[in-house]
C-alpha cells in the first residue's frame, strides 16, 4: 500500500464540480460546502473529495498565471507609488 493516490479519471470527472461547490470561487455571504457535504452531494467518499479538491485547487491555473501575478504586482505597486508618492519617475513603462 502506498500513499493515497487519486485515480486521474475520477479527478477529471469531478474536479470542476468540486471546485464549484467548495470555497474556491466565493460569493459573499454564501459559504462553500465542506468536503463531507460535497461528498454527500456527489455520492463520493469524503477522502476522495478532499483529494480531488486539493489537486484541483493547485491545478486550477497554470504557471502562466504566476507569471502574470509577478508582472501585475510589479506594475500595480509602481503605478500606486507614482501617484500616491508623487513620483512620476516610478510610473512603469
Amino acid at each position: 500500500m502506498t500513499v493515497f493516490k487519486l485515480d486521474p479519471e475520477v479527478y477529471k470527472r469531478y474536479k470542476d464540480e468540486v471546485l464549484k461547490l467548495c470555497n474556491s470561487f466565493q460569493k459573499i455571504d454564501q459559504p462553500g460546502l465542506s468536503d463531507k457535504q460535497i461528498a454527500e452531494r456527489l455520492g463520493l467518499d469524503e477522502r476522495t473529495v478532499t483529494e480531488i479538491r486539493c489537486v484541483a485547487e493547485r491545478d486550477c491555473y497554470s504557471l502562466d498565471e504566476w507569471e502574470k501575478a509577478i508582472e501585475f504586482k510589479r506594475r500595480a505597486t509602481l503605478e500606486w507609488s507614482a501617484l500616491a508618492l508623487k513620483r512620476p519617475d516610478l510610473k512603469p513603462e
Binding site: 471546485l19 470561487f25 466565493q26 460569493k27 459559504p31 478532499t50 504566476w66 504586482k73 500606486w80
Partner: protein, 277 residues
C-alpha cells in the same frame, strides 16, 4: 475589571491591535459540522479573537513589491493569543487552546479566523477578497483562541466597514471601486444604496498573487521539472529564479505568507494610520 476586560487587556498588552469575543453558539449558523469551535475543544464556550497589524506604514510606501512579499506578516496576533491562553489557564483555571488556523487539507483550515473575527465584532467582509476590514484600522490579521471559559460576547458590527463612503461615491460615479478597479482578475462586485449588493472572489487566482512564491509555486514548478525529459532544460528550470525563490519562500513562509496587497493598498479604510512623517 470584568473577566472580559481582563482577558482583552492581556491580549492588547501582548501586541494585539483589537480583541473581541464570540460565543461558540454563534458559529452554528454558517459553519459546517466539523469546523466549529466545539468540534475542536469539547465544552468550549467562547472564542476570543485577536487582530494584529500587518506591514508597517513604511513598508506600504515601498515601490518594490518584493519587500512586502517577504515581510508582509508580523505574527503579533498569535503572540497575543498565546498570552491570553496562558492567562485563561494559569489564572482563570479554564481550558484554552490556540484555534488551529493553518490549512490542513489543501486551502482549508480546521476553523475560519475570518468568520471568528466577524462574529467577535472586529470587522466585516469587504469587496476586496472578502477580507475582514476593521472599521478603524482596515486590514488586520486574525488569530483566535477557544476556551471553556464563559465570556460575555461582543456583538457583530451593525454597520459594515465596506464600502467606505468614498468608494460608494466612486461606484455611483463610475461603476467601480478602488479595489475592484485595481484587481479585476480576482474580484467582481456591485454596490447599491451604499451596501455591497454582490461580490465574487476567485480565490485560486488570488492564490497565484497572494502566495506567488510558496507551497503552490513549488508544487507546480516541481511537476514541470519531473515531467521535463531534457536534462539541460530541467537544469535551467531547477536553478531558475522562479524555482529558487519558491524554495527560499518555503523556508520563510511564515513571514511571507501574504504576498499581494494591491487591493488593500488602494483601500481607504484605515488609511489614516499609514500617513506618517
Amino acid at each position: 475589571m470584568t473577566r472580559e476586560e481582563q482577558v482583552k487587556a492581556v491580549g492588547l498588552k501582548a501586541g494585539a491591535r483589537v480583541v473581541g469575543i464570540a460565543a461558540v453558539e454563534a458559529f452554528r449558523e454558517k459553519v459546517p459540522d466539523g469546523y466549529r469551535p466545539d468540534d475542536i475543544l469539547p465544552g468550549a464556550r467562547s472564542v476570543v479573537v485577536a487582530g494584529g497589524d500587518g506591514p508597517t506604514a513604511g513598508a506600504w510606501r515601498c515601490p518594490d513589491h518584493r519587500v512586502m512579499e517577504i515581510t508582509g506578516y508580523d505574527l503579533r496576533e498569535n503572540v497575543a493569543v498565546h498570552a491570553m491562553c496562558d492567562f485563561i489557564e494559569g489564572t482563570l483555571s479554564h481550558k484554552a487552546l490556540q484555534a488551529p488556523s493553518l490549512p490542513v487539507h489543501g486551502h482549508e483550515p480546521p476553523m475560519s479566523m475570518m468568520h471568528a473575527a466577524e462574529l467577535a465584532g472586529l470587522g466585516t467582509r469587504s469587496l476586496a477578497a472578502h477580507i475582514i476590514l476593521n472599521p478603524e484600522y482596515g486590514l488586520l490579521y486574525y488569530a483566535a483562541l477557544i476556551t471553556t471559559l464563559p465570556l460575555e460576547p461582543d456583538a457583530p458590527l451593525a454597520e459594515p466597514a465596506c464600502p467606505h463612503p468614498g468608494c460608494a461615491a466612486m461606484y455611483r460615479r463610475i461603476g467601480t471601486t478602488p479595489c475592484l478597479r485595481v484587481c479585476p482578475a480576482c474580484l467582481a462586485g456591485t454596490v447599491q444604496d451604499r451596501r455591497i449588493q454582490t461580490s465574487t472572489y476567485d480565490r485560486e487566482k488570488c492564490h497565484s498573487r497572494a502566495q506567488t512564491y510558496g507551497i503552490g509555486s513549488f508544487q507546480k514548478g516541481l511537476l514541470q521539472i519531473v515531467n521535463e525529459d531534457d536534462p539541460a532544460r530541467r537544469r535551467t528550470m531547477i536553478y531558475s529564479d522562479f524555482f529558487t525563490k519558491s524554495i527560499q519562500s518555503l523556508g520563510f513562509f511564515r513571514d511571507s505568507i501574504a504576498q499581494c496587497f494591491e487591493c488593500m493598498r488602494v483601500c481607504p479604510v484605515g488609511r489614516k494610520y499609514r500617513k506618517l512623517q
